[in-house]
Amino acid sequence: MRTLSKSNSDTLTVIVDLLIPKKGSLPSPSDINVVEHIDDTISDAPQLMRLFVEGLRDINDKDFLSLQEKEQIDLLQKYECSNSLFFAELIRHTYNGYYTNPIVVRAIGMTGHPPQPKGYNLEQGNNFKLLEKVRERGQIWRNP
């Protein structure tokens, strides 16, 4: 980790896995290094770093890791209201790390490649023929 202390990164690991639970072929965020992604991102952004370090410290102060899962979720829900700025960034960077990971992108049904250079095959579609009806309804532009 470049920025997060061991205790903060342990806490964040549990949090991100609660935000996006593992399901079937969809991995948990901690399986695919989302915590490392967040650590990297905040290391280059001083304001964000402060927000995360302070936010995680507050959560740690509540002995987060020793709580039952249900209590952890309750606590996060409280935080979502009381520290909405931190929570919004927490969600954004967790989703950023998760949904740009090729394993996840494949698991949701895409090829897992970025858009370029391969692009996609797009069906031309069948409905251009319906334009004939639009044409038949006649001019709709207003001639000044």
């Binding site: 935000l19 996006i20 949904y99 990971n101 049904g109 858009p115 996609y120 069948n126 709709i140 207003r142």
Partner: protein, 530 residues
């Protein structure tokens, strides 16, 4: 002054959509033209993110269309705290066409005659039909995909390439329009769908807003500029213009700019042409004060910066219960509905609106849409939306109002210390009613097409894509800033060619019309120089 440069015939400020078209036309006529651009060249292969797995994150950082979020050295900050719509743009060779979705509809004939037809705002001093040859020339230079025969327009010349494919998603939504018997058409699109003019056809990768690394999307850095430079146009990048100076007769004399090393340079020119967009241009004029022009250059009417128009947008999203492969193909699907475009006196608003169809959001954008909660229900909510949404961007015509304006913020400046602009904008009652109507009809189409759920955002904030009206065109110097040739009434060797000169906004994307106007002004400048 650190460096003083030799005089050029014509100096253009801004290398975006209008500056590129204009510079090419002049260079093509053998006129010595130089362009100063505050941004730099981008290399489509190395500077765009769409070949990397983290491509979607770049929308939040270096490719965010909002310059206040991007905050790069080439950007200038804009105070938008008094506007419900945030102005968006890109600063580079190609200007905002680097980001654009390449919708390429023209304004319609009635848009140029709103006073005569609907007793609102003003007529333009130029008509659709006068501009038609310039629309056609511009289409050829940019390369337009589409189908002729749209009954919402007068007949047009053949399009350069076939229309953008509909795919499953396009088939789905066009059934909705068909069921209701409402207008829809594959809107003109500045995207090569097959090879054209030395550039390849689109490979349907999706995120056009992040730049097209294969150059199928027609941004002006890959269309006009290479040709203009070959013909002798000079393009100076990393050159941010602070002000335009005047001589003792009140003629434009030079532009003062900061180069990449922070030196102040002065560039003399016989004619100066502003192409810095609907916010950048009034900013330069308002910053160019002198004893002769204490309220800003070419501002005897007091209208420089006034009448800012954006096109307010409502967003309507339908959710469907099947996979529509919504990630395939240019995200802007480029179907347009003009059913409610023209004034209908039975409605409680004048003028009208269009809607454009947008394909489904990519994975990260879907997750961050605000509809996908964290926790137990996360995956279910994601699955419900991913590749299963169709969105309409309802684009309304906002009429010019002088209280909607660009001014200079006394407390804000860019990295060179040049005072920055402030935007003040209020949504009019007419626009609010128009968008409300648009949301209702768009919802009807979604339902007719089989949407199981429809949501909407009544006014999208990050939607100030179109910047218009801030140096209005007109015949009367008391009531306008430039004449029908883009020439300022006050300073006869100073011209404006970007979206600032729009008299009214119409209800379609403006760039095809901006560029046609730039080519028309270019012809005037060429004829004057002979």
């Amino acid at each position: 002054m650190d460096i003083v440069n030799n005089k050029v015939d014509v100096l253009v400020i801004g290398a975006g959509a209008s500056g590129a078209a204009f510079s090419w036309k002049l260079a093509n006529s053998g006129i010595k033209v130089m362009c100063l651009e505050q941004g730099d060249w981008l290399d489509p292969l190395t500077d765009y993110s769409t070949s990397n797995s983290d491509w979607e994150i770049h929308r939040q950082t270096d490719f965010n269309p909002n310059p206040n979020f991007r905050s790069m050295k080439v950007d200038y900050p804009i105070n938008d705290t008094e506007s419900p719509i945030a102005p968006l743009m890109y600063n580079a060779v190609g200007g905002s066409t680097i980001h654009w979705s390449a919708h390429f509809p023209r304004l319609k004939p009635s848009d140029f005659r709103v006073k005569t037809l609907d007793h609102v705002a003003d007529d333009w001093p130029i008509s659709y039909f006068e501009l038609e040859p310039y629309f056609d020339l511009n289409d050829k230079m940019m390369g337009v995909a589409g189908i002729i025969g749209d009954p919402a327009y007068p007949p047009k010349s053949p399009r350069q390439t076939p229309p953008v494919g509909l795919g499953k998603l396009g088939d789905k939504i066009t059934h909705g329009f068909d069921k209701l018997g409402w207008h829809w058409w594959p809107s003109d699109s500045a995207i090569n769908t097959v090879d054209y003019d030395g550039r390849p056809g689109c490979n349907n990768c999706g995120p056009c807003d992040l730049g097209c690394s294969i150059k199928a999307k027609s941004s002006t850095d890959v269309t006009y500029w290479p040709k203009a430079i070959k013909l002798g146009a000079r393009l100076v990048t990393n050159a941010r213009v602070r002000e335009i100076t005047v001589d003792r007769y009140g003629k434009a004399k030079s532009a003062i700019y900061y180069d990449s090393d922070g030196n102040i340079q002065e560039q003399y020119a016989s004619t100066i042409v502003l192409a810095a967009n609907g916010i950048g241009t009034p900013r330069i004029l308002l910053n160019s004060t002198s004893t002769k022009f204490p309220e800003g250059l070419a501002n005897s009417s007091g209208l420089v910066g006034k009448n800012l128009m954006f096109h307010p947008y409502s967003i309507v999203t339908g959710i469907f219960d099947e996979d529509l492969e919504g990630h395939k193909g240019p995200t802007p699907l480029n179907i347009i509905c003009s059913e409610f475009y023209e004034t209908d006196h039975s409605r409680d608003f004048v003028r009208g609106y269009a809607y454009q169809v947008v394909r489904s959001s990519a994975p990260l954008a879907t997750a961050l849409s605000g509809h996908v909660p964290w926790g137990e229900k996360h995956h279910e909510a994601f699955k419900k939306r991913f590749n299963r949404t169709i969105t309409f961007a309802v684009i309304g015509e906002d009429l010019p109002e002088t209280h909607n304006k660009v001014t200079i913020d006394p407390n804000l400046s860019d990295s060179f210390g040049i005072p920055s602009p402030k935007i003040e904008y209020r949504l009019s009652d007419n626009s609010r009613k128009m968008l409300g109507h648009g949301v209702k009809t768009a919802t009807q189409v979604m339902k007719a097409a089989g949407a199981t759920e429809v949501t909407h955002d009544p006014l999208k904030r990050e939607a100030g894509w179109h910047l218009m009206g801030t140096t209005k065109m007109g015949a009367d110097p008391k009531d306008s800033v430039v004449n029908k040739y883009g020439q300022t009434h006050d300073v006869d060797n100073l011209f404006v060619i970007d979206g600032s000169i729009f008299v009214t906004a119409g209800a379609v994307n403006p760039t095809s019309t901006i560029q046609a106007l730039a080519l028309h002004v270019a012809d005037h400048v060429i004829s004057k120089s002979k």
